[in-house]
Point group: C2
Chain length 152, copies 2
């Protein structure tokens, strides 16, 4: 919850914390997606996982985790649910039985191709700044993770 360097003295206010802006913006995105995702019976995280899986067939759980910044403890239950819903297939890699390979089913691919959330671009109110903000926040994330892993 690092604060703005500007507010040095007393103002320990939430509104000056970048981490709170990110935290609350994440909640807001989840709520904005909710009505859209309810229609197809997906949660926010399930949808993000599906998008990442649409990128490439036969990914392992670890590879998916690297894209999503998550690990098997979080992903395994979500992936089992997606499989149970008929949106993905999971199977052990015959060449290395430790790994589980993941692929979208036709139903899963069809769902992703609907481009849910396209309608939310306008709701961000960012206009032409949209790609700039996206890149800035991604860089912020990468910087934080790098700093955390070096001296954490």
């Amino acid at each position: 919850m690092a604060r703005s360097p500007k507010s040095a003295g007393k103002g320990r206010k939430l509104s000056n914390f970048l981490c709170f802006a990110i935290y609350s913006a994440n909640l807001a995105f989840g709520r904005a997606y909710k009505p859209l995702l309810d229609k197809v019976g997906l949660t926010y995280t399930q949808y993000i996982a599906l998008v990442a899986l649409s990128d490439e067939d036969e990914q392992t759980v670890s590879a998916l985790g690297e894209k999503l910044f998550l690990e098997s403890n979080t992903l395994t239950p979500i992936l089992k649910k997606l499989e149970q819903m008929g949106l993905i297939k999971r199977h052990r890699d015959p060449a290395d039985e430790r790994q589980v390979r993941l692929s979208l089913t036709p139903a899963g691919r069809k769902l992703i191709e609907q481009d849910l959330g396209e309608s939310l671009i306008e709701a961000t109110g960012l206009g032409d700044d949209f790609p700039v903000v996206q890149k800035t926040v991604s860089r912020l994330r990468d910087n934080l993770l790098r700093a955390t892993n070096i001296d954490g």
Copy 2:
């Protein structure tokens, strides 16, 4: 997970989704704070709640919820934990027994005044852009919530 308007055709890639940038940046902040907060025995959300409580004494749960964009279903367990740790006091308002009033204890205030997370400002790698990004993301959040509540 609204995508950049630029990537119209095939690129349904996670890296083009603003909501994923926010989602993953939030995870990154949580991980960056973890070692700092572990030292004082707090979780990320508990810390955010404490900062919001330091703003004003005798807030109600609802008022705190408006600042944090959370409701009593999420806050009550967190507040009970903070009380149990001796960092806040909770008591029913005698003038309206439905409401619970919240205040930091001296221990709670002392903890907040340590300015944990100050060290993370540099880790964001944003430099002078820090306050700009903070305001942009806050505006994004407010726009999303407004759009969600109007036609959601």
